[in-house]
């Protein structure tokens, strides 16, 4: 069992928890993820590491309440326990040799993008962050990003906060006049797809962080496989052991979007069941 030592609501549907897991904390690096189960018989869900406190032996993760499991997780109080917490899994974000970077975060993806921005900031790179949200109410981690960035641009789709529009708008403006050693984009699949297309116009390198459906997270099940285009061929890669970061030019986003919808009906049903469960409780 793993103790939730700290719990903070970032938004009504976005929660940050800090979990006591010294072995994981000792190893976890930005870009890696963990897998947790809320209770016995629970589903295994991957969540990206949002921060680490080695001294306290704790790992921070941020999740959006979207389905049955995250609803249950959101009901575990501070001081409560979850069944399993395993990691760190996947590879850390490549930082070597990068002196100037642009971090593009979309929605809750910003929770994953933040530790990456912080790591680049820590090693002395020049960090530009573009973070985008649907509207003002959904903005998270703005202060944290400001502290970790040389430049910060906040976008909202409806213009209710920061600039209006999606993240590709300021990215294009920047790419028109400057170059980055890398762009790192973390967010919904559709947003990453279009950010890659924007980068491509300028031949700018871009890395995307993929979080497909997975079970074991150690390369055993193959559920997290992605199609990548490499040297004119389609190849299969596993997000859990080969990723989660991939060269944005190579990822077949349309296939990833299609695969992400495999269990939409099941999830909707499970979520409604769980919601009712908590309503009656």
């Amino acid at each position: 069992m793993f103790k939730i030592v700290h719990r903070r609501s970032l938004r009504p549907t976005v929660t940050q928890i800090e979990v006591e897991a010294p072995l994981v904390a000792n190893k976890a690096k930005p870009g890696q993820f963990i897998i947790l189960r809320v209770d016995e018989d629970g589903e295994r869900i991957p969540l990206t590491v949002a921060g680490v406190n080695k001294e306290e032996g704790t790992v921070k993760v941020i999740f959006q309440v979207v389905g049955a499991t995250t609803t249950k997780l959101n009901h575990v109080p501070e001081g409560g326990y979850i069944q399993d917490f395993v990691g760190p899994l996947g590879n850390a974000t490549e930082t070597e040799g990068i002196k100037k970077v642009c971090i593009v975060g979309g929605g809750v993806g910003c929770a994953i993008a933040l530790p990456v921005a912080e790591e680049f900031h820590r090693i002395g790179a020049d960090v530009t962050s573009i973070i985008g949200f649907r509207n003002k109410d959904l903005v998270i981690l703005e202060d944290e990003f400001r502290a970790a960035s040389n430049r910060l641009i906040v976008m909202t789709d409806d213009g209710s906060y920061g600039r209006e529009g999606n993240c590709t708008v300021p990215l294009r403006e920047l790419l028109e006049k400057e170059k980055f050693d890398n762009i790192i984009c973390i967010g919904p699949l559709v947003m990453m797809k279009f950010t890659v297309l924007t980068a491509k116009e300028f031949n700018a390198p871009i890395t995307v962080s993929m979080s497909p459906i997975m079970i074991d997270g150690t390369g055993m099940c193959g559920g997290c496989r992605l199609t990548l285009h490499e040297d004119g061929k389609d190849i299969i890669k596993f997000a859990c052991v080969d990723g989660p970061d991939f060269d944005g030019y190579k990822v077949d986003f349309d296939n990833a979007i299609m695969r992400s919808r495999m269990y939409t009906d099941f999830e909707r049903h499970a979520y409604e069941e769980t919601c009712n469960l908590f309503k009656n409780a």
Binding site: V86, L89, I215, G219, M220, G223, R225, I236, V241, M258
Partner: protein, 467 residues
């Protein structure tokens, strides 16, 4: 002399095809004794050599004849740590029973069925905890809690070693819990075997991924004097044909893990799996049979085994193939998939059905010249492509070793396929590091993994005793 094995009582095929309860029900005491009487207790005991863990077979059968079932159990557990498991999943027809003297003229003795009977009898009737060995003060770490790891841990614990097993998943048992389905190996039996190890003083730490959470070198830093790597099968292989990334295409590992470990076979699971419709399983091994029969029990209308060779080359355990056929699994032999076809609505790119599997396209094969292993090589018949309409495809064509440990352990040599290289005692290229099971051989059987765990345990004992 009774020429035939006593039949195994089983659930009727039409009943069991719709439930996940165990198919084979086990011998009664009377049947077990009668079957034991068929053993000639011949002098040269060819069955013992044919057993990967060299169980003293005529000796334990002798105890059954005298109705001394606990005596029989003690004989088996001298060399095997998991009798209830092996009695169920070993391919006895190619091992002990293939060499049985009775088998020359008649059917061999049902050694596997007797082993299962003895183990079940013990679990049912003997509640005493195993005798605790005197601790020898040496610490050994075992990576992975599948058949090789559990065997290695059990053997070392019995010799007094302080053993800790590290398991990546949330539950101990490895392939015995995520892979082999309930109807072939009930989870309670695996839990019981793990519990026996716990009582011997073995600690199992779940949720630790060696190669990620901790490295092999860190295990030595923590005071372990030897490490056994039994991390098992790795990344599932795919065919690299068009359509393998459509919705409804699974690796057998994923399909079985969802059903077994994540309990999608129960009515109200938290982890989904596609149920019903028509299902094609590609491959001919035990894993393919397990996947096909699981799909059937999850409510499929038609389940096909698509295999590119003929029934003769089918590598699955014979009993599983027979059971599958009885249950109505349809064997599409000498067929090789060339493409998986998906739904595509050109009018509406947002149609939620887009990407759903609709068919698997196969080409007919003929058997040509024998290959290096003597198996006749299948050759495609040109222009013979045809479609089988299906909703789900499960790919069960083996696995490649997992790279996590290799990538984080300096000096650990692997072969061109990624399997860890070991000598005949299970020793790797690193001092004090031993390995066995699928991590070494690639996908193989439970019993061969147990044999490797056993060999390595003896080698570790030799190494640490001499230290």
């Amino acid at each position: 002399m009774e020429p035939k094995k006593h039949e195994m009582p089983s659930q009727a095929p039409e009943v069991r095809a719709h439930n996940f309860n165990e198919v084979a029900l086990g011998y009664s005491m009377e049947t077990a004794v009668a079957e034991a009487e068929r053993c000639l207790n011949c002098k040269n005991q060819p069955c013992v050599d044919a057993c990967p863990v060299n169980i003293s077979i005529p000796e334990f059968i002798g105890h059954i004849k005298e109705q001394d079932f606990e005596g029989a159990y003690k004989v088996i557990t001298r060399t095997s740590s998991l009798p209830a498991v092996c009695g169920r999943v070993c391919p006895q027809e190619t091992q002990c029973e293939s060499k049985c003297t009775m088998g020359i003229k008649f059917e061999p003795v049902g050694i596997g069925r007797l082993e299962r009977f003895v183990a079940d009898w013990h679990n049912e009737n003997v509640k005493a905890d195993p005798e605790l060995p005197e601790k020898n003060g040496h610490k050994v770490a075992v990576v992975g809690s599948g058949p090789s790891g559990l065997t290695c841990a059990g053997d070392l614990a019995k010799k007094g070693y302080d053993v800790t097993v590290y398991e990546a998943l949330h539950k101990a048992g490895g392939v015995l819990v995520y892979g082999i389905p309930e109807f072939r190996l009930p989870k309670t039996i695996v839990a019981k075997e793990v519990d026996t190890l716990n009582k011997l003083g073995v600690t199992v730490n779940t949720d630790v991924v060696i190669g990620k959470t901790l490295t092999i070198d860190e295990l030595f830093d923590m005071g372990y004097e030897a490490v056994f790597i039994g991390s098992g099968a790795g990344l599932p292989n795919f065919m690299h044909i068009p359509g393998e990334s459509l919705k409804g295409v699974y690796s057998a590992n994923e399909f079985l893990t969802r059903s077994n470990l994540m309990k999608a076979y129960l009515d109200d699971p938290t982890t989904p799996v596609k149920k019903g419709g028509n299902v094609a399983v590609v491959g001919g091994g035990n894993v393919a049979m397990d996947a096909a029969r699981t799909a059937l029990r999850l409510g499929a209308d038609n389940v096909y085994i698509v295999y590119r060779r003929s029934m003769e080359e089918l590598p699955a355990r014979k009993e599983e193939v027979e059971h599958a056929e009885e249950e109505g699994i349809q064997f599409k032999l000498l067929n090789n998939p060339v493409e998986i076809i998906g739904y595509d609505n050109p009018e509406d790119k947002k149609d939620p059905r887009n990407g759903d599997v609709t068919a698997i396209r196969c080409i007919r094969m003929e058997l040509g010249e024998p290959d290096a292993k003597g198996r006749r090589r299948p050759v495609p018949v040109e222009g013979s492509e045809f479609d089988i309409p299906v909703d789900t495809v499960v790919i069960a064509i083996g696995t490649s070793p997992n790279p996590l440990i290799k990538n984080t352990t300096k000096g650990l040599e692997v072969n061109e396929k990624g399997g860890i290289i070991v000598n005949e005692y299970g020793l790797t290229s690193r001092e004090g590091v031993y390995a066995g099971g699928d991590a070494v051989t690639g996908a193989a059987t439970v019993i061969s993994a147990m044999g490797a765990g056993k060999t390595a345990a003896a080698a570790i004992d030799g190494y640490l005793s001499a230290k």
